[in-house]
Amino acid sequence: MGLIGILIGVVLILALAPVVMMYATWMERKTIARMQDRFGPTRVGRYGLLQPLADGVKMLTKEDIVPRGADRMAHTLAPIVIVIPALLLFAVIPLGPKIILADLNTGLLFFLAVSSVETLAIFMAGWGSRSKFSLLGAIRSAAQIIAYEVPMVLNLAVVVMMAGSMSTAEIVQAQTGRWFLATPWGFAGFAVFFICALAEVNRTPFDLPEAESELVGGFHTEYSGMKFALFYMAEYLSVFAVSALGATLFLGGWMGPILPGWAWLLIKTYGLVFVMIWIRGTWPRFRIDQLMAFAWKCLLPVSLANVLAAGVWYILPAPWGALTCTLLLAATFLITSQLWIPKARRVENPAL
């Protein structure tokens, strides 16, 4: 791809990303409203379709407040730093057989590395605001992302094992004929990946960094106006990027009949975004100790088992491989989640 092609791609991403983000907020508000038997935004434009624009104008014209005693540098930089990685993530999402902005041979690694930078920005925001709520939110965010990065990476390692490449384009190619979701290790991997993705982008039920009921707004408590909007933009872009990655790695990416590749990828991505919104409309938040326990005691063992299970599935002949793989994963999940122990017989750790 020449320089011009790259430029076009970059411009497209920069132009479309805010639109995608704005309409993701619209979609979220509408979907949640419907789940609660409401209409959602209806005032601005038909079906409230212009509501995101009105919100944008509102955000732009609001007063920008920097708290007294704040670390101005960190406070101002944080919203900028958080948006850039969210935009960079789209570079390695293949929209079609040849349509990818940067076909890195370490695409997956790039995605993980760049998405982890967001924690840094969140911590900058928390530290720079000089507010206990912000700092608590930021600390929680750091702990959470470190905890959930581990099982996520382990599951992506399984995908890399099976596809034999870290390039996102090649991972999609490896799913010709069968999506990774259709295999036992792929299914478990997708489930764990999706849970970790929710935690990674601070969505319910893992939205502790911005838990309204305890931390006011979490790391963005002290932000207003356009800086606040940038945090929201980063959140929704990350939601979109992580959903696109899930679609790419497990749901066959751009592959699908009749429609062009980018359309299939969009359909799958929006499907996953919908599931995220759906979960937000349904589940309550985890407590911080439950959150940590879930990551280290349940997701991590399942992910490790998944690495082994994928290997077994690869080596053993077809029916036996799938059977062993499923059994191994199910057993690990049941043991670690302790779902099978009746509540009365379960001994809770008093320290937790």
């Binding site: 419907r34 789940m35 209806t42 759906w278 409309g281 779902l339 509540k343």
Partner: protein, 213 residues
Amino acid sequence: MQLYGVELLRGLGITFSHFVRTYVKGVGRKFAQGNVRQLPTQDGIFTVPYPEEKLAVPERLRVLPFLIYNGNTGQPATEESIRCTACGICAKVCPPQCIWIVQAKDAVAGKPKPKPAEFTIDMDVCMNCGFCSEYCPFDAIKMGHDFELSNSERDKSHIFEMDRLLVPTENYAKTHPGAWAEEEAKRQAAAAKKAATAAAAAAAAKPAPGTPP
């Protein structure tokens, strides 16, 4: 640690069914059908987008008082048709004293007439208690339903003169069917009783001229 796995999935099912039902059940309902209050058992969307769609108000809702005159919709009020007799009971019982009445005078003789020349209610003072309509012996003042009173001008539009207060009985019967029926029944009973006593008096009085003292 407990996961409550099954219940989590059940929760997802519940929210999704609500999501679907708002589209399925809401299709026929562009705006609230028949202006009916929404029941807690209702499926689909509960929300009423207010200015376009309004819920029916209960009949006994009290907002601002209005004056009644006997007549049909569109018929102008005449002095005879106005039920108010300018007795001033409403103005006396009004706790915040928002009613101002000037009694009409005979144009020729200058004698006071049992009709109001001016009847003024200050909307900002009225506290919507409904005492005026409770105390009125002539069913002339009633509590209205129009609650969309706010505007950006307060010197003129908040003072309700007679021209804005008068409502024909036909309209009143439509907006307050229950109260109207009750009052009509009472009025007819009273009229029947009056007629009966008048007839009895007439019957008692009739033989009088015939009989010698």
